[in-house]
Every structure is written in C-alpha cells, then in structure tokens.
Amino acid sequence: MDNHKPSKDLFVPVEKQEGEAEKLSRPSLSFWQDSFVRLRKNVGAMIGLVVLILLAFMAIFGPYMNQYDAYEQDLQRAKMPPKIPVLENISWLGVDGTLSSIKEAETVEAAREKALARFGGDEETITTNVLTEPSGDQLARVEGIQDVYAAKEIETNFWFGTDSLGRDLWTRAWEGTRISLFIALLAALIDMVIGVAYGGISGYYGGRVDNILQRIIEILVGIPNLVVVILMILILEPGITSIIIALTITGWISMARIVRGQVLKLKNMEFVLASKTLGAPDNRVLRKHLVPNVTGLIVINTMFTIPAAIFLEAFLSFIGLGLPTPIASLGTLINDGFDSLQIYPYIMIFPALIISLIMIAFNILADGLRDAFDPKMRE
C-alpha cells in the first residue's frame, strides 16, 4: 500500500503571481454607460429611437410648417386630396392632388357619364380612361380622375389634404400627434410616480402595510379596466384632463407591482443589509441602494406604458368617449376619417400611419432597452 504514497518532491509550488492576476484590462464602465453601449449596437432599437425623435420633432414643429391653422374651417376647400410638391410625380403614392373613381355600366358611354357625374360634370378638369370594353356579360369600366386643385382653383398645396370641414390635415395630424403624445407622456409620468411610491412603500415596509396596500390593488384589478375608464369619462367633463385621469386611475398598478416585487427582492439582499449594519438610515438605503437598482425596470416599464396609453386614448376617442370635437388627437382624426374611409381614404391613412409608427417605435425601443439593461447580456 505504501507505494501509493506520493513522495513530497513530486510537488512543486506554483509561483505566486498575485500582482498580475489582480489587473483588470477592460475600461471601467458604469451600469448606464455599459447599457448604452449595448443599446447602440441594437439596430432595431436605434431605428425606433430615430423614428421617435423625428415624430417628436414633427409634433412640435409640424403644425407651423404651413400657413394653415388646425381649427380654421373653410367649406370651399373641403375634402381636398393630399398634394405634395415633387412627390406628386410618383403616381403610386397618390399625393398628386387628384381623386379617382371607377364606374361600371352597359356601354362605355354610360360609364363615362357616370364617372363625370361623380365629379360634378366639370369636363375640363376630369380625365377619363376606359379600363375595359364591354364584352359578353362583362360591363364597361371607366376611370374618372379629377384634378381637384384645378377644379377648385386652389393654388396652394395641402400636403395631407383637408377634411370634410376644410381644415388642413397636415396641421391637424401633427397637432393631434402632439396632443396624443402629451397625454400619453403625462399619463405615463403620473403612473410612474404613483406606481413607484406605492410599490416602494409596500415592498420596503412590508408586513401589515404591504398587506393592506396589496388588497386595495387586488380590488382595483378586479374591476375591468375599461369599465372604470368609461365611468370616469362619463362623470368628468370631456377633455384632456379627464382623459389623463381616466388613463392613470388604473394605469399605475402594473408599475406598483413591478416595483414592489423588485424592492421585496432587493431589501433582503446582502448589500442592503451591509448598508444597514453600517448604520444607514432608511432614506439612504432607499436613495443609494434601492432606487438605483430598480431604475432600469422603471424606465423599461414606462417605455411600454406610453404606447399603451396612446392606444387607449385613440381607442376611447374612436368609440366617441375621448376628446370633444374640435380638438385633434390621433384618435379623433382616425375617427373622422373612418366615416368616409371608402371615398376619401387619405383622411384616415395619415393619422393611422403615425399612430402605428409611434407604437412600433416605442415597443422596439423598449425591447432594446430591456435587453440592454439585462446584466446577463453583458459580454
């Protein structure tokens, strides 16, 4: 058995090289710098960010880019199709200031009559194209195209056209974007403040306080959100304030829950205990240890709340519970356009495009932020 015993001289101590092992080569980056570096590498998120910056820029300056006012009505120039200089030459974009309509009849002549009648018979500004000759039981189809700007003798361009009351849609679309964004940002901010305070208190103090606060949330969650919102709107005067109140009345709950969960987890972490054993008072623990560690989640959650608020505002306006008539918001604009979607599709398309862009951009950016803040993504 003894031959299994290794002899001492087989072991050579490894040379100590502590000095070198302690060296760190990577540049020192704070959590936020590190996250930003990762965010910058995320192409989707950067596109989302650029789109949002452009939209915000337009929401601020767009309404001042032409001479029209968002509320000035003029029935003389109602329902003008969009006309944008330069782009008007690209026919498939449909921004050349013309309206077209296809009519069918037994003969080519009858169809042409119908097409002319559709635009009030002013032959000078209408061109007609025969699409199909009648053959067998196939009817004749004639397309009538009217240059509306020539017909109404309007010299200026309405980039997004005008609505049924002759208001300039470019101005109204950006005005609406501005109001929608304002409502959503304010609602998200209020949600954040209430949610963080509520969830923070609930999580940090725990016990009885937590118990009571959580029961209140459960009751609020139990009532369908839309019912609460609709009741609120019915009670309050319609307007921006009441929409914001309606959006925030239940909107803060998800934030409160996320923050509470996070604080519950963090407050028993050893670095918080270490701070307490050093004698740190509660407010220092909250300020230095808890808040900085939940900020990432708060930012991400807020980024997801904003598009949700925009959508809810649009939805409420669309079902007629939103802002009262003269005020433009993306929701009211879509609602207006929806009434004449088949004849004047452009009235709805532009605000619908803008709202889609906002929603997509916010969601992609929020997704990117979530990945960027996730320490497991660190290389």
């Binding site: 058995m1 760190l24 980056l29 670095f271 205990l273 270490a274 050093l278 004698g279 230095k288 660190r378």
Partner: protein, 311 residues
C-alpha cells in the same frame, strides 16, 4: 490570550412568524461568550440558524428574547441615535455571497467609503480617496480598482472589497458569515489568511460562521456547534477535535476528508440520529470538562464526564 469577554450572549432567541400559527425557531436559547481578540467559530448544518444568530447579534433582526452584551452594554436595549451609531462602528459584518453583497450600481470607492460617509469620518474628498486607497491596499487590491464597478471583479476580490468596507469604520468585532464558502478552494486560503493577518494587525475579534469544520479548525480558537437553533457543544478548537462528546459533533468531524489515503481508507462516516438521545428530561447546557460545554441531560452528563475522564 486574555479571557475578558467582549460579547456575552444569554438566552438569545429568534423566532420567525411564518403564518398565523406557525413559528420557525431559528435560534432557540443560545448562551455563550466571545473573548477579546479570539476567533469564535460557529458551525452547523445549513438552516440551523447560524446566519440568524449573526444577524440578531448585529441587530439586523430584533431578538425575540434574550440579551446580547457588548463590552458590558446591552445591544438590544433602548438606545438613542448616537449610541446606536457607536455600535454600528464597533460591530461589522462580512457576508456570504460576494455577488450579492456589493451594490452593482456603486463604484468600489463609494462602496468602501459608505461607512465613512454615514459616520462622517472624513472631511473632504481628498481624505476620502486616501483612506479608500489605504483600505484597498490593506486587503491587497490595487488603488486603481477604486473607480471600478463590482461586476468587474472576481469572487475573491469582491470578498476583499467587502472586508475593506467593514474595516472602514474601525470595528473591533467582525461577524464573518460564511465568508469563504462561496469561493473557489484556491481563493479560500487567501481570504482566510487576510482575515488572520488583519486580526493580528488591528486586534480584531471574530465570530466566524461556517457550515463545515475543516476551515474553522484552522482559524478558530474556540468552536461552538449548533444544531436546529441550539448550541450542542462548545470547546476549545483542539479539545473539540480531540474529545468531541456530542454525537452531532462527532458526525460533523467524521465528515471531514483529509488528503491522506491511509486515513481516508479507514474513515467511517458517522450519521447523527437525534432520537438516540436520552429523553427523560429537557437537556441543558452543562460544563463537562474545563471550558467544554455540552447540551445534555443529567444521565448523559455523567456518561460524558466518564468518557472525558478515560482519555
């Protein structure tokens, strides 16, 4: 070594209410002293209440019952703010998990200086930096590390940052809650040696918590063995190794592997069965030999005494 007590713990209890009627007796009547300048090892299996003991002593939890005297003063008694702050400086803690014990959003400099900030120990930024650099050097790290964030360090380095943070307020007593059990074996000795050296340089007293006896033997002067919230045996480290009396201690000892093939071949692992005990009466903590305490009934007491006399 002087035999003057720094810490006296009498009948300490910590019960957690986990439901309306269920209570976890994490610590259930502890009595022991810690002498000035010694290292007191506290061992026991996972969940037996070692961390809870440490955290109750340092007042992270309010004790359900019992007293802790530090330098003759009751730690858990009513205190005003300045007295509490004095305690916070005297007693510090080193934590188990090096990944959870440093705030990931703070620079190493701010982590180490936190105690100095709270207690207003430095007057200006320059002095703060100097002290942080000194502390980093003390624990064997580079000055340059002050401006970095915890995630850039290895487990052993983080643990040393945690030690520097504790040292920043000049404590005289440090509770080390399994400071090495989350570390790689090759790093464990490094941290233990650092702690030993600091003890010599700064005349520190340690309560060293661990869940196995192998490393504790090396660092401790006296060792207390805990089992389900109670201390079952307490003796000098050597005495405990040579003459373990309580069957639970014996079982712990039998679990230590040694790098000696002959010994390993003959090593018999010994399982502890709590039902083997004499149940005629409530066991009490009694002094079987000089400074050797065992939790036992009167019958067992006589038996242990005889056992001790034969060796």
């Amino acid at each position: 070594m002087s035999q003057e007590s720094l810490l006296e713990i009498s009948n300490l209890k910590q019960h957690f209410k986990t439901g309306r009627h269920s209570v976890i007796k994490a610590v259930d009547g502890l009595n022991f002293n810690i002498y000035k300048g010694e290292t007191f090892g506290l061992v026991g299996e996972s969940g037996c209440g070692k961390s809870t003991t440490g955290r109750t002593i340092i007042r992270l939890y309010d004790a359900t019952e019992g007293e802790v005297y530090f330098n003759g003063e009751n730690v858990h008694g009513k205190k005003d703010k300045s007295e509490l702050k004095k305690f916070n400086r005297e007693m510090q803690m080193i934590f188990q998990d090096p990944y959870a014990s440093l705030n990931p959003r703070m620079k190493v400099e701010d982590i180490i200086a936190e105690g100095m900030d709270i207690h207003g120990l430095v007057e200006n930024d320059k002095q703060r930096k100097e002290k942080v650099h000194d502390l980093l050097e003390t624990v064997g790290l580079d000055q340059e590390h002050a401006n970095r964030y915890p995630h850039e360090f290895s487990g052993g380095q983080r643990q040393r940052i945690g030690i520097a943070r504790a040292l920043a307020v000049d404590p005289s007593f440090i509770i080390a809650d399994e400071p090495i059990s989350a570390l790689d074996v090759s790093i464990q000795a490094q941290v233990v040696n650092l702690m030993k050296q600091l003890q010599r340089d700064k005349e520190l007293t340690y309560l060293f918590i661990a869940h196995d006896l192998s490393m504790v033997k090396y660092i401790s002067d006296r060792i207390g063995v805990m089992y389900f919230g109670k201390m079952v045996e307490l003796a000098d480290a050597d005495e405990l190794y040579k003459n373990a009396l309580h069957p639970y201690t014996k079982s712990l000892l039998s679990a230590i592997p040694l790098p000696d093939p002959d010994y390993e071949r003959s090593r018999v692992r010994f399982n502890y069965d709590p039902s083997d005990h004499d149940t005629s009466e409530e066991p009490e903590f009694r002094e079987v030999g000089p400074d050797h305490w065992v939790l036992c009934t009167t019958n067992e007491f006589e038996h242990y005494k005889k056992q001790l006399a034969t060796v």
